[in-house]
């Protein structure tokens, strides 16, 4: 029996993690649930799963949550710091970091320092501060298990390979809803169009990142840290069917791939059950029915965000942190219809080139870079 803390339980990953836990009551128990501001859903989840603690990040919603849970024996807290604090609770075995954006960084470092197994669904944490997270995880001997389907695939392919050298990681990408479109089309794309993802059901921010291929760029940076490879060893390949979740090529020329139907419950469950696999009723791939799996190189000219992210990975230091902060501002502005789809790349590129470079930043310098990059990106929104 593993006791799970879910940071971000009301989001897409969080709710699917609760489905996995509900399906495996003899293996998993919910110990902590946290949410940003969806207080009613958080309360319903708490009433159903009976965690020991719940935290609402938005302190203004504390009273409401407390009231909704008045009949339960559940400790109720509020505030960002409380989220970081509850991950340290002795009874927690695995911390599933399923918060969106930069906010996942601090609780993750706290949970690593407390020696908890991390199931990491928050990609910004590794994008922003991968080197720091790696250093902390090594120091505290804390396993950091990927939840993202691509990284879970690579992780599954590497199981049992010991020190066998990796030649190349092949990250697959669905290509997003705008695969095959040109820049003229992308200039006029609306948020509603961009929010239609062909295969995966995700949150709004991730869906936009997926449409712009920034998501794949983030994953390349993440993979670099999770699997200790150089950016040049990472190849992105568009695979519209989203059946092959990613691949690893070894030095002997052998390639291993992990596949499955596009269903996040599979990598979530694997991160929670690792190294074991538990039975699931997730639909199986019918290879004879899907008939064909296709692959093509991504269109880096039409989707410059992918190149920007790979460039940030090459520059290293605080550059990916600036990339991420600028992207969060740009995506927000696009969703608010204050910035065009293609304008996002312009804002990000200008921010990356403006923010002062730090080769090996401390946690405080990451926080400062994040702040500076957001300020720069906001200034560039309207010019």
């Amino acid at each position: 029996m593993k006791n799970i803390a879910i940071l971000g339980s009301t989001g897409s990953i969080g709710t699917q993690a609760l489905q996995v836990i509900a399906a495996n009551p003899e293996h998993f128990r919910v110990e902590v649930l946290t949410a940003r501001h969806q207080v009613e859903l958080l309360a319903r989840q708490a009433i159903r799963f009976k965690p020991n603690m719940v935290v609402i990040a938005d302190e203004g919603k504390y009273r409401e949550l407390k009231e909704l849970l008045r009949d339960e024996y559940i400790k109720v807290y509020a505030g960002e710091d409380a989220i970081a604090q509850v991950t340290e609770t002795a009874s927690v075995d695995v911390v599933l970091v399923a918060m969106v954006g930069y906010s996942g960084l601090l609780p993750t470092t706290r949970a690593i320092r407390a020696g908890k197994t991390i199931a990491l669904a928050n990609k910004e944490t590794l994008v922003v501060a991968g080197e720091l997270i790696n250093r902390l995880a090594t120091l505290h001997r804390t396993p950091v298990l990927p939840v993202d389907s691509e990284h879970s695939a690579i992780f599954q392919c590497l199981v049992g390979e010991g020190d066998n050298p990796v030649e190349k990681l092949i990250l697959t990408a669905s290509g997003g809803p705008f695969r095959g479109k040109d820049r003229a089309f992308l200039e006029r794309v609306t948020p509603a169009q961009a929010l239609q993802h062909p295969t995966w059901n995700m949150g709004r921010k991730v869906t936009i990142d997926s449409a712009s291929l920034m998501n794949k760029g983030f994953e390349a940076i993440e993979a670099r840290w999770l699997f200790d490879v150089s950016p040049s060893q990472i190849e992105v390949l568009v695979h519209p069917q989203s059946i092959v979740h990613s691949m690893v090529q070894f030095v002997d020329g052998s390639v291993k791939a992990q596949m499955g139907t596009p269903d996040m419950r599979l990598p979530i469950q694997y991160a929670l059950s690792y190294p074991d696999r538990l039975p699931s009723d997730i639909p199986r791939v019918d290879f004879a029915a899907c008939r064909s799996l296709s692959f093509e190189k991504p269109d880096a000219e039409t989707f410059p965000n992918l190149s920007l992210a790979l460039e940030a990975a090459r520059r290293g230091g605080n550059c990916p942190c600036a990339l991420n902060a600028a992207n969060e501002i740009a995506v927000e502005a696009f969703l608010d219809e204050c910035l065009s789809f293609t304008g996002m790349s312009r804002v990000i590129e200008q921010t990356m080139d403006t923010v002062s470079y730090i080769a090996t930043p401390s946690l405080e310098e990451y926080i400062a870079t994040d702040k500076e990059a957001r300020r720069v990106a906001r200034e560039r929104l309207f010019n």
Copy 2:
């Protein structure tokens, strides 16, 4: 440094194994080479690789071999029994069983009893007597590593998975040169046509088995023993590109696949280097160039050999042994133009139904079954 004995060094697998060894002189040394009757090639190989011992199965060729190697410090032996005996040599670490057909069984059992690591390229050994080989390997704690590309793929996918339950093994098949043809076409197929395999470069017997899909049926029986699954857990899928070498589906719905260019040096090298992987210059798969991987169910009605093999697997006991013996006779007759392509299935089916069933045969009973089945099959050739 591993010392290798290659049984069947002049065949397709044997010569490719020598290429692998030549490319990795710091990892592998040739200790023993054996061949059936290709005495000149065996002598050339011996002069190049300087084994400690060579054996020619055909005793009539002993003098010739001895003469060819008169300037070398190499022990020369002849006869089937000598082949089995040299596998027991103390200095041998790995025995690569690359002989074709039933003749691989006896040397394999001897090498297992001597505690040698077995790299098994001879599928008939497991097809005929898989249960016995498994029992011996467990008793003597001898690893039996697959060399066949399909089984190597499954083996690679299972590395590090511990006791995680397998739901299904998916054996991929190129479909052979006659994929898409009907029975009327197959009635009139000549040996020359059947010997043209679209992707793999193999020996004549294996190429015919591949065209008739008997090869895939053998592999299903082999997989059953190598990976301890029931015949119902094995699915055959036609995959004409021969890039996905096989797949494993686990109980959580996750599928792992191993891929590569169709080049036998890759699985041969892996079996020799396992658990390590060594760099190789085998061409890499270019997924963007191959564009599409396709899958379809095999045409079991047009190719009844696949169904016959799966039926033999279900019946168990000495039935796969009878299947194999009848197939060896049938293929020989087809190559000699004494039997039609479709006639092979008839002879095999009649033999399987005639030979008396033994549920748990001893080694002697396997040998008796083999003899009886060959006799029955020969009788059925001409009616």
